[in-house]
């Protein structure tokens, strides 16, 4: 394992924000894994730490394939992690909206540029990402339809679902999009936590990456073969919205089957305690995303359901 500072932002009174890359094996740039881009992505950082621990062990036992190199960048935003801010804390900029970056520019764009210069050219790029709304997903692989996406490769992670979606304008400045446009097969992996550490889904994510690396001949590792994924397009996910606001009682979990007309959540008057709305499932299917916060606004997306799918 080689540990290298790939870029550093000098602080005024703080110590520098060092971006550290951990490299395993030598030779062809095979796979690159990027963790917490945002300061609140603690699960993503934790997954990378566990992955680095495992890869170090594998390398010591000669299990990294000949002429294959893997790089892991656990975080680019230690400044944000340390002060519990999602974005680059100096001027509140989302680093994952700054790609491909720029050298002669503000720190977030410099970070994006330096990271991208170091992670481009790998055959496979894997990012542990997070969603801006509070909620849990079924762990899945997500990819954008840039014309270069490959759902069949995404299947090799062995997670239950692969979600594809058309990029929106704001996606064009993300790492994933720029990776794809520069010839890297890029995947985002979503687990069911962000601000806190969920050991079970972290283990699942580490296993999924090692499974993928094994199947691509990059490491030698014997683990369970996982699932044959169902590939779904994001627009096929049916949103279920709250029709009023108050305390939120979630009745279904990601992965649960639901049937048309089932009560899947309730909204409770915040002062008087009465149930003021039963939220019904509009379809048969499986819960893919579920809102987590104890309260809910009106018109919030509280579930996304995979329609007409059964366990």
């Amino acid at each position: 394992m080689r540990r290298e500072v790939i870029f550093s932002v000098e602080g005024l009174y703080r110590e520098s924000n060092d971006i550290i890359g951990y490299t395993f094996g030598h030779g062809e740039k095979a796979a690159c894994i990027v963790g917490a881009m945002r300061g609140n992505e603690l699960q993503q950082l934790y997954i990378c730490s566990q992955l680095i621990k495992t890869l170090k062990n594998l390398e010591e036992h000669g299990a990294i394939s000949h002429n294959k190199e893997i790089m892991v960048v656990p975080t680019v935003n230690q400044y944000g992690v340390n002060v519990e801010k999602r974005f680059w804390p100096i001027d509140n900029v989302d680093i994952n909206r700054c790609f491909p970056g720029q050298t002669d520019a503000d720190a977030p764009k410099q970070i994006a540029k330096a990271l991208f210069d170091n992670v481009r050219g790998y055959s496979y790029g894997i990012q542990f990402a997070s969603f801006y709304m509070p909620g849990d997903f079924i762990p899945h692989v997500r990819m954008m339809e840039t014309g270069f996406q490959s759902p069949s490769l995404a299947n090799l992670f062995g997670l239950q679902y692969v979600v594809t979606r058309k990029p929106k304008p704001m996606d064009t400045v993300t790492l994933n999009y720029n990776w794809q446009m520069n010839g890297t097969n890029a995947f985002s992996i979503y687990t069911n936590a962000t601000d806190n550490v969920d050991e079970k889904s972290a283990r699942q994510a580490v296993s999924a990456v090692l499974r993928f690396l094994t199947r691509m001949g990059i490491v030698k590792y014997n683990n369970h073969s996982g699932y044959i994924a169902s590939v779904i397009e994001e627009h096929e996910l049916m949103p279920v919205k709250s029709d009023t606001a108050g305390f939120y009682r979630r009745l279904k979990e990601p992965g649960d089957p639901v049937y048309h007309g089932d009560v899947i959540a309730q909204v409770i008057d915040p002062y008087e305690g009465e149930v003021i709305s039963d939220i019904l499932s509009p379809t048969d299917g499986i819960i893919f995303f579920a809102h987590t916060a104890p309260m809910v606004m009106e018109n919030a997306v509280v579930y996304k359901i995979i329609r007409r799918m059964h366990e």
Binding site: L12, D104, A107, V173, G246, P270, Y271, M297, N299
Partner: protein
């Protein structure tokens, strides 16, 4: 007449209301031109509050001068404005990256879609922005080069110091202005001042420009105010000046923006602990300085100034 454009219930006994004030002449025929004035998409931008107040005050004072329709939308992000945050506080989401919105989307996308629906049909829209808390801007009109032919005639009579026509970037497609221009509503963006402050001189300058445009569109009958001929970015080039080290930026210009000579001292980056100047910043050309760093804390790469160099 004040009315609600869209509202969303908050969890505890409160609604977010996006309101507008609608003015039309007595005995309206239905053939009147309509202008929409929008501000407060970013909660930390306050100049538009005074601009809206003064426009409404003058219409109320002289309703007989109104010969068209004026719709005033003074605050699109009320929660952000209340808390002094740029984005929507709960999600740290930039509202000007979710247009044209989605009626089936999350709260911000829903609000964006309803706002766009309400503005459609206007003959012109002006989206009034301030800068953020880090940078000070001279009064300027910004337009995407895709729409320059249609918008430049209006931009020229807005009483701005500077009109900046910039090249198209995909990420800007998610802004209100881009979306409205695509949907057939010519939309101008103005920038001025600093976040969380009101620059009354710029506001008064813009108010004159707005009334000048209203006279041009046949919406207001009055003597034309004296408006200045703006400097057009199409006739020269914009130089970006960046910090070369982390430190404290001390402006040599005070609050002054505007004309500047080649070699003129713009400011210094100093190291307080070492008592020395780390970088002296001078104007690279004769022209106008229309952007200046406001927050003195800078990192390497931080934008310090933009100077438009006259050819």
């Amino acid at each position: 007449m004040v009315s609600e454009v869209v509202s969303v219930k908050m969890p505890v006994k409160e609604k977010i209301n996006i309101s507008k004030n609608h003015f039309e002449p007595d005995n309206a025929t239905g053939r009147e031109a309509r202008i929409s004035l929008v501000t407060g998409i970013h909660g930390d931008e306050l100049d538009g509050q005074f601009v809206m107040y003064e426009v409404v005050r003058r219409i109320n004072e002289h309703p007989e001068r109104l010969t068209g329709i004026v719709d005033v939308y003074p605050c699109i992000n009320p929660l952000g404005m209340d808390m002094g945050t740029r984005g929507i506080p709960m999600f740290d989401l930039d509202m000007n990256r979710v247009f044209p919105g989605d009626n089936n989307g999350a709260m911000a996308e829903y609000v964006a879609a309803e706002l766009v629906n309400d503005i459609i049909g206007s003959d012109l829209c002006i989206d009034i922005h301030s800068s953020n808390v880090y940078i000070k801007e001279a009064l300027q009109v910004r337009l995407n080069e895709d729409c320059a032919d249609k918008l430049l005639p209006y931009a020229r009579i807005m009483n701005a110091d500077f009109v900046w026509v910039y090249s198209s970037i995909t990420v800007r497609e998610a802004t209100l202005a881009y979306s409205l221009n695509k949907l057939g509503v010519p939309t101008l963006v103005t920038e001025m001042g600093v976040g969380l402050r009101i620059n009354y001189a710029y506001c008064r300058q813009l108010i004159d420009g707005i009334f000048n445009i209203m006279i041009e569109l046949g919406i207001w009958q009055d003597e034309r105010p004296q408006v200045k001929e703006p400097i057009m970015s199409t006739e020269g080039q914009v130089d970006f000046l960046h910090a070369e080290a982390a430190g404290i930026f001390i402006s040599a210009l005070g609050d002054r923006l505007g004309n500047i000579k080649s070699g003129e001292h713009i400011g210094d980056i100093i190291s307080p602990i070492e008592g020395k100047v780390l970088q002296r910043i001078e104007s690279p050309a004769d022209g106008i300085i229309f952007t200046l760093r406001e927050n003195p804390v800078v990192y390497k790469g931080t934008l310090l100034a933009r100077v438009y160099a006259v050819k």
